[in-house]
Amino acid sequence: MSTETLLERINAYENRADPYPLYAELREHGVAQQNDGSYLVGTYHEIAALLHDPRISSDVRHRSTPDAARPDALPPSFIALDDPQHDRLRRLAMRPFGPPHSPGRVDALHEDIVEIARELTDGLRDRDRIDLVDDFAYPLPVTVICRLLGVPHEDMSELRGWTNTIIASLDHSPGDDPQEKQRAGMAARMAMGAYLGDLADRRRANPADDMISALVHDDGPEGRLDKPELMTTLTLLTIAGHETTVNLITNGMLTLLRHPEALERLRREPELMPSAVEELLRYEPPVQMLPQRTPLTDIEVGGVTIPQGAPLFLMLASGNRDPLRFEDPDHFDPARRDNRHFGFGSGVHSCFGAPLARVETQVALAELLRRLDGPRLVEDPPPYRHSPILRGPRHLPIATGVRAGAGA
């Protein structure tokens, strides 16, 4: 055990349910160089500085490690590019989604999200045991992202397979053959990109009131995404548009079930929900780390020089629990005020879908609290998904009685 590096231990599945002691160890080390030449940063202020540092690249092709320059049939999505390319692609994608051009898009979805959440909780009626993931936390964001983008819901099972393969290819866990994982991930990205590209072609011929139609029709001053850009961007939006939210809702319910006093307080004071969701993003963020940063020049962080081209891992979930930034960081406080967490990252790559994720999670948890009577965890910790990057339970079995008379 002690011969393993900290990164290997964080990646090890046995530590998935509670990585926080490892993050505390990381913060003790300051900037931690690993045997493979990569660097981990887990303290809040250092992460914040690096997230805003224009000398830190998000493009792994700048890494000096040999596998970084892997050939790929598709261009990288904007989360894996630097300005000005990143900025251009992100702005084109933002045009139909958020301000300044589409300020009402997420707001207009609010009623839909409430309706979808109610339909799902209606389905839980008369069941004394549910799996929160399969019965609620997964279908809710999937239905929302399908409506938003204009992806036919019935195709989602196919998309789910590709999504899982792509996410697996991001992991650096030992065990599986990394090259095989990369190959499979690339093939899945190609297949998913081709599917979404075809869908976009169909929307070009028959526009609807969805984001894909807007992306292929509403040109800004800079024109539009070309076909390969459209394929990678839609793949990114589809995956990021639900995977993270599934984990946020599930981590959220798990945390509330572990803190019954907080759960009761939220029932009494539903107006606290927005701040409770912010606290969840700090306390149990779905995106635990950013594994693909690279310095473009030698950079000094906390007294350590990280050389140009070295793999740099920003451990967001660790920064969120840094006692030098947050008072009593391991305490879950749904009313926490000073809460500038890294749940959505920060800087130019800060989460594009944050406004949607916030609304979805606020609605989801409020609806669950309203409908579930005396919910109890059946298994603690629950079984986790494999990924140490996008971390969350694979299943969350809950014993419950549906609240009598609370619905309808």
Partner: protein
């Protein structure tokens, strides 16, 4: 010990952003005594940034810019009443309606007002306006709704440029007259000034630089046009005077405070100085009207007309009003402001005028996305982004840590060969509108400082 700080009578003169945030902070920090807010406008506190933007575009009605309260302040509000004086010995604020408000501690947040057109009879012409208050913005929005054939904007600072932008967005013909060599030069220097000039012209603004408006012309009491110092004449039905702001300090004449055209001087803890530079301990000041020493900028006394400064300074002042000495905090926030105009988002951190050199650190003028970094004697003192605001936190850190100028290379979108040029900011000595201070008297108890008004 701390009990006395949490009770008693506090009066806040100035019921705008800084006044409201201070009142909220006082209650937040446990002040249980009597709280009175005095404001000369009849409106409850409202937000000013939208006035020269969304309100002029007709997107937001002027009535909808009220500031949401963060928490109840449980105060007595005296709105529509001007404070007319301060008696520091009796510890009373004098109001224009004759009331005398006793206080144990006073907070001054009287802010600024629009600098009026210097010729009163021309200023009275129908069609001559300023934009400072919600009523001003409402009147101008109505004028723009009516579709004037041409609008004249006098002054191309941030407010003037935003007004010109709103006019162009509405499709109205607009002429901008600016005394300096380019728009925004006074705040941002030459590099961004020339960029702003090209931008305005590309958007169809008739921009005239290096000229002043010598007179506003009228007929039957209505504005018809203007004469410029270069001899040219412009026909216009609306003229907006955007010549900056005047600090509301006249009511403090005779109070013995260090109050004048540049603001009310205070220490870093927001305690007002009297005219001898002796700190008071019961009179505090915050927001646009305050003038405070900032260590990052050579302890230069800064008076900032920034939204963020009003909030942060008000919070520090309020904290210090209800806490004993050892628990008091300095106001050390790095200045920051933003502007939106001609489709661009401009954001600034630090003090761009406190500089001798600039360089483009990221992006380029051609892309219309860039970060300009300012240095003074080899250290970074400010950064201004155009459509690149998310990078500014990095430069904020560099300013706070006095990082060397020019910034280190390595940014992915840094120009291939960054050039360092003179920042071309105006000499602050030339900008002074203030009177001279002179000393009188010879005996120790007769020795006085007096203000000698400019002739």
């Amino acid at each position: 010990m701390s009990g006395e700080f949490k009770s008693g009578r506090i009066v806040i003169v100035g019921a705008s952003l800084a006044g409201l945030r201070a009142a909220e902070t006082l209650r937040e920090e446990g002040f249980t005594g009597e709280l009175t807010l005095v404001g000369d406008e009849p409106h409850p506190p409202y937000d000013r940034p939208p006035l020269s933007k969304q309100v002029l575009l007709g997107r937001v009605p002027a009535a909808d810019v009220g500031l949401p309260a963060r928490r109840p302040v449980d105060a007595r509000w005296k709105l529509g009443v001007r404070a007319s004086g301060l008696d520091p010995a009796a510890k009373e604020v004098l109001l224009a309606d004759g009331e005398r408000l006793p206080f144990d501690r006073l907070l001054i947040t009287t802010g600024t007002r629009a600098r009026p057109w210097p010729h009163p009879e021309e200023a009275r012409l129908d069609g001559v306006l300023t934009v400072r208050t919600v009523d001003d913005a409402s009147r101008l929005a109505e004028r723009l709704d009516a579709g004037p054939r041409r609008v004249l904007v006098i002054g191309a600072g941030f407010t003037g440029s935003e007004i010109a932008s709103a006019c162009r967005e509405r499709g109205l013909a607009v002429t901008v007259a600016e005394r300096g060599p380019a728009p925004l030069v006074g705040a941002l220097g030459g590099t961004l000034g020339s960029f702003a000039a090209r931008l305005q012209r590309a958007h169809g603004v008739d921009l005239r630089c290096g000229v002043t408006v010598t007179s506003l012309l009228g007929s039957n009491g209505r504005l018809t046009g203007a004469e410029l110092s270069d001899g040219s004449r412009i026909d216009a039905e609306v003229a907006v005077v955007a010549l900056g702001a005047v600090r509301n300090t006249e009511w403090l004449d005779g109070s013995g405070l260090a109050a004048g055209p540049r603001g009310v001087a205070c220490d870093a803890g927001c305690r007002a100085f009297n005219m001898y530079g002796i700190v008071t301990d019961d009179v505090f000041v915050a927001g646009d009207v305050a003038r405070f020493p900032h260590p990052l900028f050579d302890y230069q006394m800064l008076a900032l007309e920034h939204w963020g400064n009003a909030v942060e300074q008000a919070e520090v002042a309020a904290h210090n009003m209800v806490n004993p000495g050892p628990l008091r905090r300095p106001h050390l926030a790095v200045p920051a402001f933003w502007s939106s105009q001609f489709g661009l988002n401009i954001k600034s951190v630090g003090v761009p005028t406190f500089s001798d050199q600039v360089t483009i650190a990221q992006g380029s003028v051609e892309e219309r996305r860039l970060v300009v970094v300012y240095g003074y004697r080899g250290r970074i003192t400010a950064a201004v982004s155009v459509n690149r605001a998310k990078w500014l936190e990095h430069y904020l850190r560099l300013i706070e840590t006095a990082a060397p100028f020019p910034p280190e290379p390595g940014a992915a979108d840094r120009p291939a060969e960054p050039r360092v040029v003179a920042s071309d900011v105006p000499d602050p000595k030339v900008l002074s509108h203030g009177p001279t201070v002179a000393l009188t008297g010879h005996l120790p108890d007769r020795r006085l400082a007096v203000l000698r008004p400019m002739t």
